[in-house]
Subunit: 253 residues, 4 copies
């Protein structure tokens, strides 16, 4: 049974900062946001977690393997190197959405995202190493079947992008409502989903839902592990099996 | 009348590279993609252009002000510092979608995105400085009215994200089909749209379309300029007027 | 008694890479080198180690607290994100110079720095967590007394730089020969030295040696710890005592 | 005749910032310094200039080709993305040292490096495009003959570093006093020197001075150009001739 540890990272008072004293150059905001995300990806990823850029001022991470001290260090390091600070909420749950809801509530209780007095909150609990198992995290890695042949080499780059976005928007809604899962577009034609215990039938349902809804054909590899990296790399290998064998769904366990 | 110069940047043979010889750590791919985007944002942004991360392996930029030599230098610098290379297609058009279509075609004609022999193509034409005007670029900057109060401080972070994504997906389809415009989510609750000559009625139509379609309330500031930065900073200031005055649409000209 | 774990990181075949097929833009090489160093600094620093840029293609780190698996992960992550790869040698010794010599020999035995077949070697042994103590690392943090008043606000920036460099060159030679220590310039007017067990008399000797040799006045704070960070932060606090009290030497134990 | 445009970049109030409210983690300071330098290297380098890390809180650049507006943009972009700000002084001179002295004085007159009220000064004059020539900049690129064979593959990495440092310290003093030139270690075994009009005899004198002083054998390639990049890439090619032909000095004109 999954036991997902989810961390919400929220930049403190970011909206006001971007327009004070004047609106800042957009290219600089994009650079700041992307590099902050890249740094969090290295920190969390080097401890076998995954973080998703989400809205950039709010990032969602699967942090099984990171302790409270790790979270404090990440927060301190960002505060030393960026013109902004971040607040962190960590929680675990029977489903990823449950954990994420609790993590969000921890930060909301500390103060508004635009409360200029709320700075560098760190709330929540991490899973003791002794209580971790190889089934704590389930990751599903979806991609669009032959995106290059069907879209990238055929349509203009924005129309290709629209197709991928529509596929993602459909999958994200379905996985959240039907399966309490968190789905994130990660570039190219790839979507990574953080799931509770799902089986082949439920992945099949998801694929056909998206095909019916927006006419985008997906395939999926899924994996389990002690950490997001362990589950995710198993999912990537399973997806390679889909590509090699022409199957729509492959489970790495 | 607008004369948008659009550049499509596409990483060469990226899909195969990410899984050769084995699938690579996801956190490292995210770091690479984000930092590549950040570098392109600095290079293009420092010449008053805008670039949008789009799908990360394919990025769309508004490059009025960048010459062909600038494009060649960007390509060379990336080749010197990353384990991947990029191909670039540049075109101008009566509408942003038209320019982007032509830019895409230039790269597609040079070879598939997964053609291992296609490396560092540079095709297309830039606008002569002598032919540039203060109306070449029109940028519209949309955001969700009181996103912090309505969503961020109220819902869990993923449900807030779903609302923002649905609003974006609806706006992006509408602006592309009805107005040959390119819309990009840029973080937080912000969407930047690259437009041809649109007027207040057309922005009003867009806002009410999204409200009817997915029940997300947007406001918008628009600006014009010689470059994306010039148009975009005018749009940001116009959006500040919306926030200050409680209006839904403000034009910076 | 100190037990310093030292890692030598050496970029594989870097010299030839920088000029193949043609010499590469210097600004790009500088960017690559600095960002690679910054990434290693984050990775090592987040595990409470210190890494010094040294010659950029060869970096020396104090890695008490990093396991062999940590070293392998660092190497893999760099290989995923840079156009170069690195080899690593790790050793421990009764003195920092002894450990660094052994670490160097491990890499030299694997192959030349310009051997195009030597890639991503990882050799050596790390200290078991069970055998670590709070006296494993001794760090001394030197700076120039009132560098701002004496030099920065008075001389041209290059003449100030020459003074700092001469001070550093003198200290580095003395500390290596007299005390088997490794001294590194870390920016501003600061030099961080990795030492074996030294006492106040030996630090006094070092300060007066440099004053006699090149007429540069130094002060120093020293600290001990389980890791470079622990020893180093104690040294920084001791140096603050020098600044507050006007003393030349302060020991943090 | 050379006409070097030199810019001094100085971080505002950096010393105090690094210890307020408490001393900050050294690894984070190193990361910040290196990434700031890398960004300046990209900005300046993309306009065909060169910047040298120097002391990191003070960086020296050759900025022929950068206008005052370029300097203002660099300053603004840094202010948007870092927790520190920078002051800039620009000057030109008959020799590099003269230009650097004037650039330093401009900043010193604006206020102390640790004056908490001095922020983002921008002083000085750049060369009009109309007045630039192909002889404005002279760059000499020195390296140690067969450093890999003599040092890197033979000595421990710190003793190799000491040899390179001693060679650099000797060359830097000589070039500054005898030839009003600015010499910078750029990694590996390479030193780049910004010179006025020097001829073969003067380079020969420099090489033999260093050999006599510290027993380090150098070779050098020199180049001229409109910009640091143009002169520098010619110098790199000349240095390749030294390597290919076994000569000690090659001039690219």
């Amino acid at each position: 049974m999954t036991n997902t540890q989810v961390t919400l990272l929220q930049i403190d008072n970011y909206g006001p900062w971007t327009v004070t004293p004047e609106p800042r150059r957009e290219a600089d905001l994009q650079t700041l946001q992307s590099r902050l995300y890249a740094d969090v990806s290295q920190f969390v990823g080097n401890r076998d977690g995954y973080v998703f850029f989400t809205r950039f001022d709010n990032m969602i991470a699967v942090t099984n393997g990171l302790s409270r001290e790790d979270h404090a260090l990440l927060q301190e390091s960002i505060g030393n190197r960026y013109p902004v600070t971040v607040s962190l909420g960590v929680a675990t749950g029977t489903t990823p959405v449950q954990a994420l809801s609790d993590a969000t509530a921890l930060i909301q209780e500390a103060g508004s995202a635009q409360d200029k007095n709320r700075r560098e909150c760190l709330e929540g609990r991490t899973i003791d190493d002794a209580h971790r198992t190889g089934e704590d995290v389930q990751i599903a890695h979806f991609d669009v079947i032959d995106a290059t042949g069907e879209y990238t080499d055929e349509l203009n780059a924005f129309d290709t992008f629209i197709e991928i976005e529509q596929g993602y928007a459909s999958l994200m809604r379905h996985m959240r409502r039907a399966h309490e899962s968190l789905a994130f577009f990660v570039g190219g034609d790839n979507v990574i989903v953080v799931c509770p215990d799902l089986d082949e039938a439920q992945y099949e349902e998801a694929i056909y839902h998206v095909q019916e809804d927006v006419d985008v054909e997906l395939q999926v590899g899924a994996g389990r592990g002690r950490s997001a990296h362990e589950a995710g790399i198993a999912a990537k290998h399973a997806l390679e099996d889909c590509r090699a064998d022409g199957t729509r769904i492959e489970l790495g366990w």
